[in-house]
């Protein structure tokens, strides 16, 4: 015993602690667990499947095919010069990231009840890991977009450098709402039943199948309150070149996403302390 007791870090347990529930120091100390949780989510998701990670590609590709047939060909939606498959896929990529991340994050606490009631760790890692696992799927499916763009000979402009920002925005939006929903889901299982309906609805208030120009200008500010509007707009602008622009309404999306994220962390931190008792 060379060290003295006072050199060891002190943890104080009291009925109420800080606003955030966890300290940044602690989150940093648990960073490896975050990695392992993402790794577990991915491993488990594709265990005993024939296609494995191929499912990450297949889902958005199927949706793209369906949308191309019904909205592109049959309904003849105008896509300002870009072939409909690329138009739809560039939006489906961040959309799938958002929707999958949100869905998995929202149920992450109730799905890991066994863990929460038996071991301590910063609980916010669970919804965060769910979203990060969706990011890995996103990266795999991104290869398909590159193939599509090459096939149609679309060359992105310099704006492509801004793409990581919009990926980040999708992650922030997905996590932010995921924090809210997961904390709610721990207490109220209604969340689980709301999710499929909510994501379907959300898909249609996001310009995935149609261009944003279909929305009347007078309503754009309201429309932009949906953070995914900014994300999808940003993706098309960054990837598909001159025919798409991004306007100041995107800032509304950014602001909403950041607010949801910060609010989500605060709400989660408040709920976290009683999680093991209610989940």
């Amino acid at each position: 015993m060379t060290e003295t007791t006072t050199e060891l870090p002190l943890t104080v347990i009291t009925p109420r602690s800080g606003w955030l529930g966890v300290s940044r120091r602690e989150l940093w100390a648990y960073r490896e667990l975050l990695y392992f949780l993402v790794w577990r989510d991915l491993k488990v998701r594709y265990k005993q499947t024939v296609l494995g990670i191929g499912w990450a590609v297949l889902q958005p590709v199927f949706l793209m095919a369906v949308f191309t047939l019904f909205f592109g060909t049959l309904a003849g939606i105008q896509t300002t010069g870009v072939p409909y498959p690329v138009f739809a896929f560039a939006a489906l990529l961040p959309w799938t990231l958002f929707a999958r991340g949100l869905t998995d994050a929202s149920t992450s606490l109730s799905a890991n009840r066994n863990l929460i009631t038996k071991v301590y760790f910063p609980r916010i890692l669970l919804p965060a890991a769910s979203v990060l696992a969706a990011v890995v799927d996103f990266l795999v499916a991104f290869v398909v977009l590159l193939v599509l763009m090459t096939y149609y000979g679309i060359v992105p402009t310099l704006a492509v450098a801004a793409l990581p920002l919009f990926v980040g925005l999708a992650i922030v939006a997905s996590m932010g709402i995921g924090f809210w929903f997961s904390a709610l889901d721990a207490k109220y299982r209604d969340v689980k039943y709301t999710l499929p309906f909510l994501t379907q609805f959300w898909l249609f208030v996001t310009p995935v199948v149609y261009p944003i120009t279909l929305v009347p200008d007078a309503w754009r500010w309201l429309y932009a309150l949906n953070p995914m509007v900014g994300v999808v707009e940003g993706f098309r602008w960054a990837l598909l070149g001159q025919s798409f622009t991004i306007d100041s309404f995107a800032l509304v999306s950014v602001a909403v996403a950041v607010l949801l994220f910060l609010g989500g962390i605060a709400y989660f931190g408040r709920s976290e302390r009683s999680l093991a008792d209610v989940v």
């Binding site: 060891l8 943890t11 104080v12 347990i13 009840r113 071991v119 299982r189 008792d277």
Partner: protein, 445 residues
């Protein structure tokens, strides 16, 4: 204590009675909010408004103690005394309602082995996942990996998904990961009650090593023998309060005395509170000697222990009753069961379907068997395939054995040393007559 590793001051935890149900819907919350404003509150937050105090339950109240470096503390108490709640607060799984605790260094908690195991993942993958969940660094897991696998004796199955493991293998792997965690403070709950006897012994040894390495350990168990061996100091919790804190033998003796009724009989009048589950409920445990219920039995008379239980599930097979006898220090004197292998006579029910009904299992201890002293009876109703303890009544009652007979005289009142005091057949033979010529002096006739 100058530099305690752990200081607990007036710790308390309150649950709202009825909030422990896992399913809550918004509709429930809305209806209960209408009735009582506090109902939608999170569990364990301080009382506000006008809710009656009777809708809350203090699982823990005014608990204070300190632990120095390298101290091993046992925590005992009846079910529902707050032992697990205390460990959950100290391992930060749940928050206290009042009071505070100060902890120096990393806390490792073993509230249940295998938390975070995923059935689809292989043994190797689960070691990494579980290690990370318990707070180990990846480099730490890598360096201990071989040791963990070796301890669990699972070298051959490490690439197999754990869903294909037997329950014994699963538990061995889980304990092995947890045992290789090296926290400054280890908080453990009944984890030794796992696996087969040989592995249990190994686990116990490992726990002993942890204590010897100078780590601070809090250990909850119902097994008084284990507590006695591992912990020099013990705290007795009852109804969420510290009833006694001191040297283990004193605290255990106090607990056993207070816990067991000494009337020779323990009955559970209310079936809901009786040990058991919806399949099997215990009714009573009693000690019978010379034809009547007795708290004091004569050593010269056979003594019967009767366990009454009700079977609610028709057709259960392979059901047996298991009895432990503990001495006043908590050491197990004997254990016995109504299985054919352990039974001296033929027993008609074991292995046959048990119709719904009231049953009584009687075990007879021979006369002149247990030594003088106080004995505690723990009774269990167990079913096999897989092994499941359906009803457990630990230290259900106690009885005293008195030696009043002929054997009192030679000991001169101090009694015969030893755990048992049998009357054994003795025979003395004369092997040869006379005495040799070398013996000193002749005898005059």
């Amino acid at each position: 204590m100058a530099d305690p590793m752990l200081r607990v001051e007036n710790l308390g935890k309150r649950y709202r009675v009825g909030q422990l149900e896992t399913y809550r819907t918004i509709r429930d919350a809305v209806t209960s909010v209408v009735r009582r404003p506090e109902a939608a509150d999170e569990g364990g937050t301080p009382l506000r408004g006008s809710a009656g105090a009777d809708s809350y339950l203090w699982a823990l109240r005014n608990v204070s103690f300190e632990l120095g470096r390298g101290e091993v503390l046992g925590i005992i108490g009846p079910n529902g005394a707050g032992k697990t709640t205390l460990l959950k607060i100290l391992s930060r799984i749940t928050v206290p309602t009042e009071g505070r605790a100060e902890i120096r260094g990393r806390v490792g908690s073993l509230l249940e082995v295998g938390a975070g195991f995923h059935p689809e993942l292989t043994g190797r993958e689960n070691i990494f996942l579980n290690g990370a969940v318990l707070g180990m660094k990846k480099s730490e897991i890598v360096s201990k990996f071989d040791e963990i696998v070796k301890f669990a004796e699972l070298e051959k199955f490490i690439e197999t998904p754990v869903k294909r493991y037997s329950s014994g293998m699963y538990v061995r792997l889980a304990f092995s990961v947890a045992a290789h965690l090296e926290p400054e403070i280890l908080v453990a709950d009944e984890v030794l009650a796992v696996g087969d006897a040989a592995f249990q012994k190994k686990c116990l040894g490992k726990m002993g090593d942890v204590a010897k390495e100078g780590r601070t350990v809090l250990f909850v168990s119902h097994n008084m023998g284990v507590i006695n061996r591992l912990c020099p100091r013990t705290i007795l919790l009852t109804d969420g309060k510290v009833v006694k804190d001191g040297p283990t033998d004193e605290v255990v003796a106090h607990y056993l005395r207070s816990e067991s009724t000494s009337g020779g009989q323990r009955r559970w009048e209310d079936p809901q509170n009786a040990p058991g589950n919806e399949r099997i409920r215990m009714r009573s445990v009693r000690v019978v000697s010379e034809g009547q219920v007795a708290a004091e039995v004569d050593i010269d008379q056979p003594t019967s222990i009767e366990v009454d239980f009700v079977n609610h599930a028709a057709g259960i097979k392979n059901l047996f009753v298991n009895i432990y006898l503990l001495d006043s220090g908590g050491a197990t004197v004997l254990s016995t069961a109504s299985t054919p292998a352990a039974n001296a006579i033929h027993e008609e029910w074991y292995g046959n379907p048990h119709p719904v009904g009231h049953y009584r299992a009687t075990c007879t201890l021979p006369a002149n068997f247990l030594n003088e002293g106080r004995y505690f009876v723990s009774a269990f109703v167990v079913t096999l395939g897989p092994l499941q303890v359906e009803a457990r009544a630990e230290q259900a009652l106690s009885f005293e054995v008195f030696d009043t007979g002929v054997m009192r005289e030679p000991g001169g009142g101090t009694g015969w040393p030893g755990a048992v005091r049998p009357r054994l057949p003795w025979k003395t033979e004369m092997l040869s007559g006379g005495v040799g010529s070398s013996s000193s002096g002749g005898e005059s006739r």
